[in-house]
């Protein structure tokens, strides 16, 4: 069996690339060693939140200040916009809304009380503007350590807001995000559960902020039931990882890939490839299976997810395809903070179609690299993880499709 395209990795860039290629009528196999970093994603589409430590209002306008080889500079504002609009209109982006308009960031509430610039986010996720000036109650589940509700409330109070924090027992006996979400997914009558909650809810509450654990499947129904039962606005705030908003997005991706008859091979770690000059012909997994391909998209998640490896001397390598990794700074020669930045910015350099160099200036013809594997960007400092994933994944898919011809 061969596929038009093998996407390696279940990072957001991989899901996006696969979804786009399937829509374009290509056969696609996603091969991944395990699950990707969407399990840690707080939800929301972070495109460009900070530049040199300062908040960014208009991400598209901000890209000119980025490194020449930053993924957004490779894409350019127009292609970036095309990719993000596709996401917005696809089933993957279902329920995402632009609070600041299509081109401007708004601020999302995080569990630590920080305000995170985000281009769009789920309509039930708390935004700063939405909650400001309202009487707020922050709910926590007793024993749930991944939601520092005290920190969140203190931060609001510091900003002059009226906030009360309350804690109640979670449904079910366990106190981790996933188990609580399961309990909400399977309880008979969530409305009744929130009805009971109204006994301890301060009567003047306008907005109830809850940790984003109200289910992984039917959270929308649960939130609607809570709103009815409590007669106030109910908004979710993402917890520390594992994060339900990211997991929900991952589930939506997987569902869509299956609906579009894509193939998913878990447990496939690439051990090598066969190439004919500058074209990849097949990839082989660590368990010995070989998949024939016409094109490959390498979405293996950079250093964070093992897509890039760091040895004890701080040298970075790309283990799957043996690509050259670009390192702007040696990791061993800088302090801890710079080391993290250098680690993020290390990666694979590509051309505008996200094809890495093969030899000399010639790129690989049918190999594309996306997301955290790419060099010259830092998702943490820029607050740009989802944006770069979607833009590079979508454009790599477009390039692969063009290259495959009709």
């Amino acid at each position: 069996m061969n596929y038009d395209v093998v996407v390696i990795g279940t990072e957001l860039d991989g899901w996006v690339a696969a979804a786009r290629l399937l829509e374009l009528g290509r056969s696609v196999c996603i091969a991944a060693p395990g699950e990707g970093s969407l399990h840690y994603a707080p939800g929301g589409l972070h495109v460009l939140g900070h530049l040199q430590g300062q908040p960014v209002t208009e991400p598209y306008a901000g890209i000119s200040a980025l490194h020449d080889h930053h993924p957004y500079r490779l894409a350019g504002a127009d292609r970036m916009h095309a990719a993000l609009s596709w996401f917005d209109n696809s089933p993957l982006g279902a329920g995402f809304t632009y609070r600041g308009g299509q081109r401007c960031n708004s601020l999302a509430v995080t569990s630590a009380g920080l305000q995170l610039p985000v281009l769009s986010s789920c309509d039930h996720q708390a935004g700063v503007e939405q909650v400001q000036g309202n009487v707020m109650t922050v709910l926590n589940f007793s024993g749930h350590r991944d939601f520092p509700s005290g920190l969140l409330a203190a931060e609001f109070i510091r900003n002059g807001e009226r906030v009360t924090a309350i804690a109640v027992d979670p449904p079910g006996a366990r106190t981790d995000s996933v188990t609580i979400a399961n309990a909400f997914d399977t309880m008979d009558d969530p409305g009744a559960w929130f009805g009971d909650l109204s006994a301890v809810l301060p009567g003047d509450t306008d907005v109830l902020l809850v940790p984003a654990v109200l289910g992984s499947k039917r959270h929308r129904d649960v939130i609607a039931a809570a709103t009815r039962a409590l007669d106030c606005t109910v908004l979710e705030v993402p917890t520390l990882p594992p994060c339900l908003p990211g997991i929900r997005l991952r589930n939506a991706c997987e569902r869509y890939i299956h609906e579009q008859a894509g193939t998913l091979r878990r447990g496939f770690r690439v051990a090598g490839m066969d190439a004919d000059q500058d074209r990849v012909r097949s990839v082989t997994g660590s368990t010995g299976q070989t998949i024939d391909v016409s094109a490959v998209i390498l979405a293996t998640g950079g250093v964070l997810m093992g897509g890039l490896e760091v040895d004890s001397h701080g040298k970075i390598t790309e283990p799957a395809m043996g690509l050259d990794a670009c390192q702007t700074q040696p990791l061993s020669k800088v302090g801890a903070e710079q080391a993290v930045d250098a680690l993020h910015r290390a990666g694979i350099e590509t051309d505008e179609d996200f094809r890495p160099r093969h030899s000399g200036s010639r790129p690989w013809q049918n190999l594309h690299v996306t997301g955290r594997n790419l060099a010259h960007w830092n998702p943490g400092a820029e607050i740009s993880a989802e944006g770069v994933a979607i833009v590079s994944g979508w454009l790599a898919a477009e390039a692969a499709h063009r290259e495959l011809g009709s």
Binding site: E35, I247, R269, M273, Q289
Partner: protein, 428 residues
């Protein structure tokens, strides 16, 4: 041609031999754990019961203390061995195998396993007894008084989906089969086909025949997986060795050994090494020769199915069994079924039907298994497909009993699509 990164072996000119993972390597994989909790998110058992701490805790985390004998726990026994955690771990931690090794240590310390599990661990023995007089055995199993007594004595759940004995129908059919010469392939039928599900074996051999293969079927024997996954390694050891010897002629002759039971084939491929430490040449040869039948057909004969399939106008729901994940081949049956014209396929949204081998047969674990499988059974009840399709036998029996919808192995549908009457098990 340039090849990067690989030391290839001559195995059909493709792929390469991978060293098998032994118990030492399994245990060592705990060091890869970054505590990312992804496995916790996906464990179906931890999702329904608070009594099980989940894969990260029962696996790599507890393992650190096990090596200094500092944990006294019941946790690993509640793991169903479904393998889902291992398949989602981004860092190659062999979580399921770590937990199974811990179970075995516990079993060892407790001086063996209970009578019920011991019975469940001998599907071939029960099968042979039942095969002597299937009508009598089926009558006894259907008798609720007998089952109540059996529950009390053995701990096997009264509601467990026990299959019906089919006698030796597959073997009898095989005896009268005349095959043409052709490339040789070995079919490992397993206890399920030999005693309960002969139609699956008949369909498998018929499909292989029609693709031009001459099929060898080794004598009826059990791969010992139920013993391995319940931690009874010592009883399993000599049987596993015998099994390897039984399959060595085929593997040695370079034949592929295909199987219709995803869990048996997984055992032959990797669990003998992971649990019993069998990584010698003979065992490796067998391990590398084994393939899931649908994986093999997809890789080598997808074109035939794409061209030569007859219409199968059915609405089916496909449930890829949890144990298929351990093969790292995705869901090849689904890809093959998609080539069959006329078929409408809905996908199971559940990662596990709950029964996970013999887990759902145990009286104590049965309620957990039912909870794990609930969403699948509800999905079936909602969409009312004509058929449910699943590669694993105990899952099929469980799904069929719980949903009332007939449940078939994908090879039976493929036989139908190839218009092979001997494998035909449902009417248009």
């Amino acid at each position: 041609m340039t090849t990067t990164h690989l030391d290839r072996d001559s195995h059909e000119g493709r792929g390469f031999s991978v060293p098998l993972m032994t118990p030492a390597m399994v245990r060592q994989s705990m060091d890869n754990c970054t505590k990312c909790n992804v496995c916790q998110v996906h464990c179906p058992v931890a999702g329904v019961t608070d009594a099980f701490a989940g894969p990260k805790y029962a696996g790599p985390q507890a393992e650190r203390f096990r090596i200094i004998d500092a944990v006294d726990e019941t946790a690993p026994m509640l793991c169903s061995g479904c393998g889902i955690c291992t398949s989602v771990c981004p860092n190659d931690v062999a979580i399921t195998d770590i937990i199974t090794l811990a179970k075995a240590d516990q079993v060892d310390r407790a001086g063996g396993i209970g009578l019920g599990q011991r019975l469940l661990n001998r599907p071939e023995l029960i099968g042979r007894l039942g095969s002597l007089a299937p009508w009598l055995a089926n009558g006894v199993l259907a008798n609720s008084l007998f089952r109540q007594i059996a529950v009390a004595v053995t701990g096997v759940s009264r509601d467990a989906p026990l299959p019906r004995f089919a006698g030796q129908r597959f073997r009898r059919w095989l005896k009268h089969l005349s095959q043409r010469e052709g490339p040789q392939i070995t079919y490992f039928s397993g206890c399920a086909v030999d005693h309960y599900d002969p139609d699956v074996g008949i369909a498998a051999v018929s499909v292989l025949n029609s693709l031009g293969y001459k099929v060898t079927v080794p004598p009826d024997a059990c791969c010992s997986l139920p013993m391995l996954s319940s931690g009874d390694f010592e009883t399993a050891r000599p049987r596993a060795r015998k099994m390897i010897e039984l399959l060595t002629p085929s593997a040695g002759a370079g034949q592929t050994i295909v199987g219709t039971s995803t869990s048996c084939t997984l055992t032959l491929k990797s669990k003998y090494a992971a649990y019993l430490g069998f990584d010698d040449r003979q065992a490796s040869e067998v391990a590398h020769a084994v393939s899931d039948i649908c994986g093999y057909l997809l890789e080598h004969h997808a074109d035939t199915f794409a061209k030569a399939s007859a219409r199968v106008p059915k609405r089916v729901l496909y449930h890829g069994p949890c144990q298929l994940r351990g093969h790292h081949i995705g869901q090849p049956a689904l890809e093959l079924l998609r080539l069959v014209p006329g078929i409408t396929i809905e996908l199971s949204q559940a990662s596990c039907c709950g029964v996970a081998g013999t887990y759902g047969y145990d009286q104590e674990k049965r309620p957990i298994a039912v909870d794990v499988g609930r969403s699948l059974i509800e999905q079936i009840a909602d969409s009312r497909p004509d058929l449910v399709i699943c590669d694993s036998e105990t899952c099929r029996w469980n799904i069929e009993q719980a949903s009332g919808v007939p449940c078939l192995h994908p090879i039976q549908v493929l036989a139908q699509a190839m218009e092979l009457t001997s494998g035909k098990v449902f009417q248009d």
